[in-house]
Structure formats: structure tokens, C-alpha cells
Point group: C2
Chain length 104, copies 2
Amino acid sequence: MRKLKHPTIDQIELTDIMYALADPTRLEIVTLLANARKKMTCGEFTLNRSKSTMSHHFKILRSSGLVETLIEGTEHMNSLRLEEIENKFPGVLKSVIKATKVIG
Amino acid sequence: MRKLKHPTIDQIELTDIMYALADPTRLEIVTLLANARKKMTCGEFTLNRSKSTMSHHFKILRSSGLVETLIEGTEHMNSLRLEEIENKFPGVLKSVIKATKVIG
DNA sequence: TCAATTGTTCGAATATCTTCGAACTGTCTA
DNA sequence: TAGACAGTTCGAAGATATTCGAACAATTGA
């Protein structure tokens, strides 16, 4: 469990990102991460879901390429791969984050 | 069957749009519509799917607010609600369309 | 070394999605 | 008015998703 797998930039696919963002729970995680502007542990997200459910969503966020998870001790520090994704799909992630801000 | 229901602009929700765009078939319909720059009938999309399957996808595209369908005779003319959605969620739809162009 | 902490994995239940063929509806035209 | 045409709706099959609790793994600290 030393290191978690992440896709490289060229392995990231648009449909995977769309799919990851289509779930309300995951979209909320993404916007919280974007607004936090810092790394957050899984435990900091109190979205009324069980530990295993949250872990499941983070796994999908990681495999889509949206989130990077670094292990520090017993904690998993999560951050958005915003710049990389902006570089590959300009405007996609940023506009979605901005759109969620306006609403809630 | 005279007129089909569409959500008004303020009824359109971001997660519904994300969900609609997450399916490869629907994403392809959306990009074809965007590139066509004109209204297209359902029959013009030859994506190796049955009539009923295509109808199902168009129903989701309509209910998400992405697509508007006007009935002209026996044909259903479809178009993207690009300007409306741009107005509500700036950059979201346009950046996704642009991102798909680069790839395929 | 042992317990506490953080998160993952497993297995299962439930719900939702995609897909299709068949039957149907509304419109046009011969 | 009957047939052709474009899509929708229905019902069902099979695949995927979401969710949870329980068990597990890795690290830290006492």
C-alpha cells in the first residue's frame, strides 16, 4: 500500500473525467478540493457516506486522473490534478468548478 | 406527440449535463451536433445502435437540457442548446466539445 | 510490541443503465 | 383511406454502479 497508481497525462480520457464528475458525491469532493486549494485527507470530507464508500469514490477519482493521492504516514493526502488536466483539456475542469460555485 | 418537453434554462442542472455527457454514445451525438452546426434528425446519426436505443439517448439529452428537439412533419430536428448552456455554465459545453475535437 | 488511526479491499444487496425487438403514434403521400 | 416513414414507448435481459459492514494492511506512538 506504499504507493497508489495514477494514470499518466496521456492516459487520461475525457469520458472518464465526465463519468467521474457525473456523480454528485464525487463532484462535491472535486469542488471541495478545488476550493480548499490544499491537500486534504479522505477523512476531512464529511459527506454522510461510509468509509468504504468514500474510498470507492476516491478510487474512481484517482483512476480518472482527476485526483492525486500521496501517502503521508497513515493519511492519504488528496489534491486535484488541475494544471495537468487544464493542459490536456483546456477549460473543462475549471469551468465545471466555476459552475458549481455559482450554484451552491 | 405534437410537442416534446424540455427543461427551461433555470431547470437545467450541472450534474444532469455531466451525466448526459458521460456516456460515449451521447457524447458523440453532442459533438456531431456541435460540428454539424445545423439541425439533424435522429436518423442521421448512424452509430450502430437500434432505433429505440437512440431514442433513449435523445430522451436523456433532452431532459438534461443539452438538446432541443423540434418536430417537423414525421422528422424530429435536433439541435444543441449551446448558447443557453454557455450562458448558464460558461465554458463547460464548449470546452468539452473542443476537447473531443482534438482527440478524434 | 500492542493498540489506535487511516484508508483499502471484499462480498453482497439494491438500484440504475444500456440495449434490443415489438408494438404503437402521428404525419405525409399516393 | 391505406401504406410508408420517423420516432417513441414498453418490457425484459444483462451489465454496471452505489452503498454498506466486516475484515484487512500499513503506519504511528505509547
